[in-house]
Symmetry: C2
Subunit: 321 residues, 2 copies
């Protein structure tokens, strides 16, 4: 990250290759994230407290940002753009994304009263559409008609690829389930787009400083979540109860993907992030065939075809702009 | 048909509205065709011989073309463009589409040794791709990249809309099944594109004359099919054994849709025909909800979304040409 953070802005090519690089890293990390989750479920080791793990993820991201900053300060010295100290005006917006994610994660506990787990996976694809809408409204950047067509295809393709015999249940989900899914999609889309707005507002500000402040508030909000949800368990069994090698790998992976998401927000945008995580979902399925002997369904092939066409349309439309 | 056939070529608007009209008629007829098939299966009345019905369809189309021609002759007189007599040079290519369809229909009996019926429905969507490829090669008209993307989406969307719990079987179909499906798709695509080439070769020639000769050879080839496949049944039980009101309606519908296909070939093209029949497939499913209490699956909604985007992309791409 330090190398990337320190890379000077010298024209379109380097900017484009850095953009591609962080997108690639995000795709690989997101994909291996899902594989780690499948692996940990298969190993039956999923009894650690999720809130402590989330807290550690934020702490690790904070630490990594500091390490990167130390390297930069040693190389370039401390400047206005890379100093850690900040103003109220700059920092006041940083808690907002962390707060939004917290509310979204709390809602997640309640939606399962209305929707089953495969149904929730399907409904999560609404994130794609909500991100597109909020990206236009908040960042005031217009997607072309072809790019919108591509975005709708991305959503339909991802959902198709995830179809399974029980996904039709989602059509019978009560209205409350749908409303909650839409609210969650809007919260998550808003958090993503708002983070991009914060990071892009000061383009010359070093990304590691911006990340540091984002993650400090992430730590605070996750500490709050530990206290409200898992206080007794942590007090009785200890903070690291149920942790295993896989848990450590998952925390490491989540921290690195979190940083990659920030980098994509800085050097690309939320639209690229959505494409990247969608491709990661397809990659995960293909890798799972080799790792866990999963079978790919016809729906998966059809969904992947539609996602591929969506990526093609998005990229040609951008080239013509 | 007579009114359309006699309509003079007076500029873009009338041509475009005629194009839309024949496309609409084809969509409605194709859709009601499938509904008649479901109805006849439900009523348990499907024991008539298919070859005799096919022969009657060709005979009826021939008769309808003649009726249309009689009206035109009475109004405009007999001209070089609407006279029924023909030259060897004009008529020699007309048997080819009929022969291709015959071979394709014969193959249909053998493919079920390798693929089940829902799998065959899925594989039939390969027609869309084969039509696109042969359209480019034979008619030498180029589809733009966006139009190709739309065509791939049309194929993926139609297949998605038809997904059912047993469609994954098609992935386990033996290689022979796939090869036969591809050969059948190529035969059917070739027959369609070749028909368009024949009809478009003489733009001023009246469509009813062109249809008459196409259908005469259709009658001859279907008479051949009766003799090779159903000769004994027809001799023992009679030509009209097992016919019912639904059978008569189906023959009437097939004849009218056949004429509509020719009209679409004359005034639009095979690409429009493929879109029209795809939309008809979706329409059938929606109408079946009301008529037969069918349920629409999530896959159907996703597939319909993808098909809608495909139609949008095809139409915007055409507008920009």
């Amino acid at each position: 990250m330090a190398a990337i953070g320190a890379m000077p802005e010298i024209g379109g090519f380097r900017q484009k290759s850095r953009r591609s690089f962080v997108t690639l890293i995000l795709t690989v990390l997101t994909s291996s994230q899902s594989i780690l989750i499948v692996w940990s479920k298969r190993a039956g080791k999923y009894e650690y407290s999720v809130t402590t793990a989330n807290f550690l993820v934020e702490a690790l991201k904070c630490a990594l940002s500091l390490v990167a900053l130390l390297r930069i300060w040693r190389m370039d010295g401390v400047t206005d753009d890379n100093r850690l100290s900040t103003t109220w005006d700059e920092v006041k917006v940083y808690p907002i994304p962390a707060a939004l994610y917290l509310v979204k994660n709390l809602l997640q506990y309640y939606i399962f009263a209305y929707v089953d787990a495969p149904g929730y996976q399907i409904l999560k694809n609404l994130n794609i559409i909500s991100t597109g809408i909020l990206y236009q409204i908040i960042l005031k950047r217009k997607l072309t008609e072809i790019q919108w067509a591509a975005f709708i295809l991305l959503c339909a393709g991802c959902t198709t690829a995830q179809l399974n015999p029980s996904s039709d249940h989602v059509l019978q989900a009560p209205l409350q389930g749908w409303v909650m899914a839409i609210v969650m999609a809007l919260l998550s889309g808003f958090a993503g787009v708002y983070t991009e707005a914060i990071i892009k507002k000061r383009p010359s500000r070093n990304i590691n400083v911006q990340n540091f402040w984002l993650y400090v508030f992430g730590m605070i909000f996750n500490a709050f979540a530990i206290m409200t949800q898992d206080f007794d368990a942590v007090m009785n069994d200890g903070f690291f109860h149920g942790y295993s090698l896989i848990t450590v790998l998952m925390i490491l992976n989540h921290a690195l993907s979190g940083i990659a998401v920030s980098m994509v927000m800085k050097y690309a945008d939320n639209i690229v992030k959505v494409y990247s995580t969608s491709v990661a979902m397809l990659l995960t399925a293909v890798v799972s065939v080799f790792l866990f002997g999963f079978h790919l369904s016809l729906a998966f092939f059809l969904g992947s075809t539609v996602v591929s066409v969506a990526i093609y349309l998005h990229s040609t439309s951008k080239a013509r702009r």
